[in-house]
Symmetry: C2
Subunit: 430 residues, 2 copies
């Protein structure tokens, strides 16, 4: 339940998609690492808040207590701490596991791929953070998924807002998770959850509402930096200062058109400490997509400066910022687009089929195909002793093989091969 096989057509589409993502990660100088699917249970515990219950545990068959990884971020932090690495720009594409309620039509599975790019190290502020946003922008543009916006916020700004609105610090995290719903439900509902369920005062909720419904660009950052209350809060001021720097860098990258500083963005995970961001596809008319798949966020990430320290015996900190591309949702969209377009994706790369028009010519086929393979040419033949020529040509059409190399009795006698272009039916002897 919640897992799936990939057919050759799906595997081919996934290869194309991952190829685009990997080529972007490599363009930015990232190295690959790999970590086990299995982690010690204790490594994963206490990192995912309430979602810890979604972790798959292995049966105790003697030896270590193991679990399946929940994401690639915690294993990365564990890797950095264990190997005492202080600097690293890495990508990692691999499967992760969550005992969640699957919603497979919307691309939510229990086993799914994550595509992560992270920069670890002590650097000057916002330079790696800006690169993460540039990467999201490049990938979403490359994949031609339609219009999108990348929402940006900072945990420090959000916590500053809560503080000046009179929320006690113990309620920051729960207030955060309520604010995070603002992209799905109207403010009224969020407000009543704050007051009713979370126990904030109506006045505090109203004051929060004035802030978290704001979104904009540089001018909003400037305005908040002038805000008499917010500018008095140390954390918020730091966050706003960095946000301004971020927008400067994003302006130099030429991508601010797709960036929205959005105070309602909160992100679920506990470990974020600074900038957070999330890319959302915008609904649109699209002639190729009949029914719109309910996708929301297709990439997200942020800064987590405390996580590596949790795995270091001496608590040594390695600041990190990273982005995760929501490859399963993107895959669902591309799959649907492909289906609607009627395009047939080839599942193999075979360049030529070695064929014979008469019987008793298997030896000739085996000799020729062997020469082709040894020359690095992608070649196939049918596994029949005496297949009909029509069947062989039909196989080319079915699987998209562009050429047939035909050896018949005449060709053998003349020492040539007849090369046929399957679509035009043109033939040359060579």
């Amino acid at each position: 339940q919640g897992t799936r096989d990939h057919s050759p057509a799906q595997a081919a589409l996934r290869e194309r998609l991952l190829g685009a993502v990997v080529s972007c990660f490599k363009r930015h100088g990232a190295a690959a690492i790999d970590t086990p699917v299995l982690e010690l249970r204790e490594t994963l515990m206490g990192k995912y808040g309430e979602d810890t219950k979604l972790i798959y545990e292995l049966q105790d068959q003697g030896g270590e207590l193991l679990a399946l990884r929940y994401d690639l971020t915690v294993p990365f932090a564990r890797y950095l701490a264990m190997n005492k690495v202080n600097n690293m720009k890495r990508y990692h594409i691999a499967k992760v596991y969550r005992r969640d309620n699957p919603a497979t039509t919307r691309g939510r599975y229990r086993e799914f791929y994550q595509c992560d790019f992270d920069i670890a190290g002590q650097f000057d502020p916002m330079i790696p953070d800006a690169e993460c946003l540039k990467i999201v922008h490049e990938i979403l543009s490359d994949l031609q998924l339609g219009d999108f916006v990348i929402k940006v916020n900072d945990r420090r700004i959000l916590n500053g807002v809560f503080a000046i609105c009179g929320v006690p610090e113990s309620k920051f995290i729960t207030a955060c998770s309520t604010v995070d719903k603002l992209d799905k439900v109207p403010w009224d509902e969020v407000r009543s959850e704050m007051v009713g369920e979370k126990g904030l005062s109506p006045e505090a909720a109203d004051r929060i509402g004035e802030y978290v419904q704001l979104h904009g660009g540089l001018e909003l950052i400037e305005r908040l930096l002038q805000d008499p209350k917010l500018s008095q809060n140390k954390l918020a001021k730091e966050g706003l200062g960095d946000m301004k720097l971020l927008f400067e860098y994003l302006t130099l990258f030429g991508i601010t058109g797709k960036i929205s500083f959005d105070l309602s963005l909160a992100r679920g995970l506990d470990y974020y400490t600074g900038v957070i961001f999330e890319a959302v596809l915008l609904q649109q008319e699209n002639e190729h997509v009949e029914e719109l798949v309910g996708v929301g966020s297709v990439a997200g990430g942020g800064r987590y400066d405390g996580l590596v320290g949790m795995f270091d015996p001496k608590g040594r900190k390695v600041p990190c910022v990273g982005v995760s591309i929501g490859i399963e949702r993107i895959f669902s969209i591309l799959e649907q687009k492909l289906k609607a377009s009627g395009e047939k994706l080839r599942t193999t790369e075979t360049q030529v089929l070695v064929a014979t028009p008469q019987k008793q010519l298997l030896a000739a086929r085996l000799k020729l195909i062997s020469e082709l393979w040894d020359a690095g040419i992608k070649a196939e033949m049918l596994y029949k002793k005496d297949p009909k020529l029509l069947k062989q040509l039909q196989y080319c059409e079915d699987t998209g093989i562009p050429l047939a190399a035909i050896v018949g009795e005449q060709e053998l006698a003349d020492g040539v091969v007849k090369l046929r272009d399957v679509s035009t039916r043109e033939e040359v002897r060579m």
Copy 2:
């Protein structure tokens, strides 16, 4: 225990190795599929004989009872049966899991990659089987691992030998597993295990010994086809007939020089029904390898015509033949070779570092690098506001970046970039 992280250097070496294997599989027209790491427990039970105890089981957290896959062959058979596929040439490269005693220096892990290529379908005899051997030959030649031999046998021949030597059918499998040790221990020891532990009569053991110590080529097949006893056994006769055909095809492929028909080859798994094979690296003097790693088999496979039927509700059979490349052992060898050679494998593909020779030029770097990324050029910069030029050039040397694009005040004023070849120190303004 028995798992490992891959550092960037290891991940880069693995990418190179898997690239060579995948390119061979694609050259032979294989499509990729993917299946979950998780399988239903019942799918895996009763497929691996004694090794069933090595399967990792997941804890019962409610819902289905799950286990981690043990190999890629059983999931492939399950896939074919579930999707009613009758024909498929596929490759699958993924991790599998075994609760075995790890011997990591010899490349034996609890989590490891398998690289499988299989051909499923009802075809004329030995044509796909011959292609599997061709693939092993191509991959081992490509990877330049030194001299190797591919041992070939047939389960039907082996069972025929047991039958005519007076072994009761109930002891075929256990006799098989004893014979399989002949590549590691001398015949005397194998014989005493047969008589002592397995309860065969001394006469039966001696008669078996006369056969299973034989190895050779076409002439041996011909000789056994004339053997008065063996040629009377229906299964053995079939097996020998097919073996002869196989050698004909392998002759056309030009690879019989590396093939040995070896009657001692038995292979562990229960599901083989016909041809079986195993590639072994031959010990050799090699100036690059100081200490020889204890590798044996680096590829193996065979025909399994009954496995798919075990998953089909109607028992519908789909004959299969396939090969698994022992990628972890090969990886160990390549890693050791690389270390001995002193060659440093690059872990990134960055083509150019964007650098500045003076302070206050971060904006210029960000603008230029953004242009390079948008043009598809793999580019990096240091995440410092004002790094020293020496540090930037040192980074190029450390990570193998061949070019530095330098923008200083003069270049900015002139509207040019200084492109420096890091190794020759040549510079051009452009």
